[in-house]
């Protein structure tokens, strides 16, 4: 019974400490809050049912990152994956989710990041959000550091173009707005 209580405590505290990290990464990879829910749940259940021995908390964190990324890959491959438009804030599912999440998925930067290929999205998230250095990302994703640097470079380039085009489109649309005088 004591072991059970410890397992419960372990899972609760793992979710307290790393739940948001797992969820955000799942969100980055799946681009769908609903799928991110499923992935996060699966990851912590895997932690409950089949965890390795963790030597320290960095080890646990790295394990959670890898399992989350792998679970997202599995989800993409699965035939039954639901198709949800993550940016459709009017959908009933999204309308019911938390405000910060709605704000994120409605933002230009989210849209631009979401358009990146999944591997580029991953390195962007690990680098810019989680703050991992290139070498650590290489270890976590089993890549050469040079591969990570290339992906980061490509991601920056694509994001820059995307966001600049977005800004230009907004400017153009603003420029085309009819003036009050013209309407009269």
């Amino acid at each position: 019974m004591r072991a059970n209580a410890r397992a419960t405590t372990f899972i609760e505290r793992a979710m307290d400490s790393w739940g948001a990290m797992v969820y955000r990464l799942a969100l980055n990879q799946t681009r769908s809050p609903q799928d991110a829910d499923d992935v996060a749940q699966d990851v912590f259940l895997k932690l409950l049912n089949n965890p390795p021995v963790f030597r320290d908390d960095e080890h646990l964190k790295a394990w959670l990152i890898r399992v989350t990324v792998n679970r997202c890959k599995e989800l993409r491959r699965s035939a039954w994956k639901r198709r949800v438009d993550a940016t459709d804030t009017a959908s009933p599912e999204l309308a019911n989710i938390e405000a910060p999440l709605q704000e994120l998925v409605a933002s230009d930067v989210w849209e631009a990041v979401s358009r990146l290929p999944k591997q580029l999205r991953l390195v962007v998230h690990l680098y810019y959000f989680e703050g991992y250095p290139v070498d650590e990302i290489a270890r976590l994703t089993r890549c050469n550091p040079s591969t990570v640097r290339t992906r980061l470079h490509r991601a920056r380039k694509k994001l820059k173009l995307d966001l600049e085009q977005e800004a230009k489109r907004e400017t153009d649309e603003y420029g085309r707005l009819p003036l009050a005088d013209e309407r009269r």
């Binding site: 259940l45 021995v53 320290d56 933002s107 089993r142």
Partner: protein, 367 residues
């Protein structure tokens, strides 16, 4: 790409938390699993099992293998976790304490020992010390204990090749008592200090990290819970590795370098997630790797306790009436440290979910 755009991403993403519905679903599954386990324990005889399973040792090692692969790679990384809201919730703590007059104690001590038992040791329960944190080895600055690692970590300070161990655990420093205005915590020992990190930042976050090493800090009594939510506070010690620990460290480091070569040759583009060590005789076997890690862990954690035993932890409380009182505590390894650690190591082969045992005691001493 403008930095402000990624700042937007960072800012918006930072506000996203694990939804309560996910947390509730997981905990529901945990409860169901435990109920199932209880029911199974009550009704299933070992003789009725029909499922063929591999030897527990093999299963345990196999489960640990892919993780250990990464653990060695991360051995130079600083510890980074926190277990928030770990306040002792036992109502028995307060029930055993005086209800009036100026009074205080460290809850982790009172939880087991109650009040008025000076010089008697209490085991420092795992939930109060040991559940979060960990140990690592690498090259650390002898003056500060900070890790020597390349990259963007705030801990980057260079590399002089000296191998140190760094151990840090979250000690539940919750203070309980009457009429308390504030509590000052102090630690006095060589190579020992508190580390404090704003929990809203990660250790590798690119923003300036509010990371402090302190020998002493003060918290208002009424803000202890808020402080736990916001700050990560560890009791950290760093010390040079010697003798057998250096031998193990050398072997593990060499193995990690070989393993990295194998990764680089097999997965140049990140396609492979793990290496079966049995197929690579140039690498340590899973069992050898775990055995060495366990042995090194035992040496390091024992030494950690020995260092803490020479480093009094002092609480000085200021009461509402302006008066102050000081109490000192000593943390030390349990007498049967080696046996407990060995039992845990053996258990972790069979049960990868085995949690760390209680390895330390706490004793209130004359301030």
């Amino acid at each position: 790409m403008k930095q402000t755009n990624m700042d937007d991403y960072h800012s918006l993403m930072s506000d996203v938390e694990l939804p309560d519905r996910v947390r509730e679903n997981v905990m529901r599954e945990v409860e169901q699993a435990q109920e199932g386990q209880r029911a199974g324990n009550a009704t299933t005889s070992p003789h009725t099992r029909t499922t063929k399973k591999s030897h527990p040792l093999v299963r345990g090692v196999a489960a640990a293998a892919c993780a250990v692969v990464l653990a060695v790679g991360l051995a130079f990384a600083g510890n980074a976790v926190f277990w928030p809201n770990a306040l002792p919730s036992d109502s028995t703590i307060k029930a055993s304490l005086p209800t009036s007059g100026n009074f205080f104690t460290l809850a982790a001590y009172a939880a087991e020992q109650g009040e008025g038992k000076l010089e008697q040791s209490a085991t420092l329960e795992f939930k109060n010390f040991g559940i979060g944190g960990g140990w690592s080895w690498g090259s650390y600055d002898a003056e500060t204990g900070l890790s020597h690692e390349d990259g963007d970590s705030p801990n980057s300070v260079g590399d002089d090749g000296t191998c140190y161990a760094q151990v840090g655990y979250f000690l539940d420093l919750t203070c309980v008592g009457n009429n308390i205005r504030s509590v000052t915590y102090s630690i006095d020992g060589e190579g020992v200090h508190f580390t404090t990190e704003n929990r809203t930042y990660g250790p590798n976050d690119r923003r300036p990290v509010d990371f402090k090493e302190q020998d002493s800090f003060t918290i208002a009594y009424g803000e202890q819970t808020a402080d736990k939510t916001k700050m990560q506070r560890k009791l950290m010690a760093y010390f040079p590795l010697e003798g057998r620990a250096i031998e193990i460290w050398t072997v593990l480091k060499r193995d990690y370098e070989k393993q990295k070569e194998v990764y680089d040759s097999l997965a140049p583009d990140g396609g492979t997630t793990q290496i079966p060590r049995s197929e690579h005789p140039e690498l340590l076997s899973d069992i050898e790797l775990k055995t060495l890690n366990d042995e090194l862990g035992q040496i390091i954690l024992r030494r950690y306790g020995e260092i803490l035993s020479k480093s009094p932890l002092t609480l000085t409380v200021t009461f509402d009436d302006g008066s102050t009182e000081t109490k000192s505590y000593i943390i030390a390894p349990v007498e049967d440290f080696e046996q407990r650690y060995a039992d845990f190591s053996a258990e972790s082969y069979k049960n990868p979910r085995a949690l760390w045992p209680t390895l330390y005691t706490i004793t209130e001493t004359e301030a």
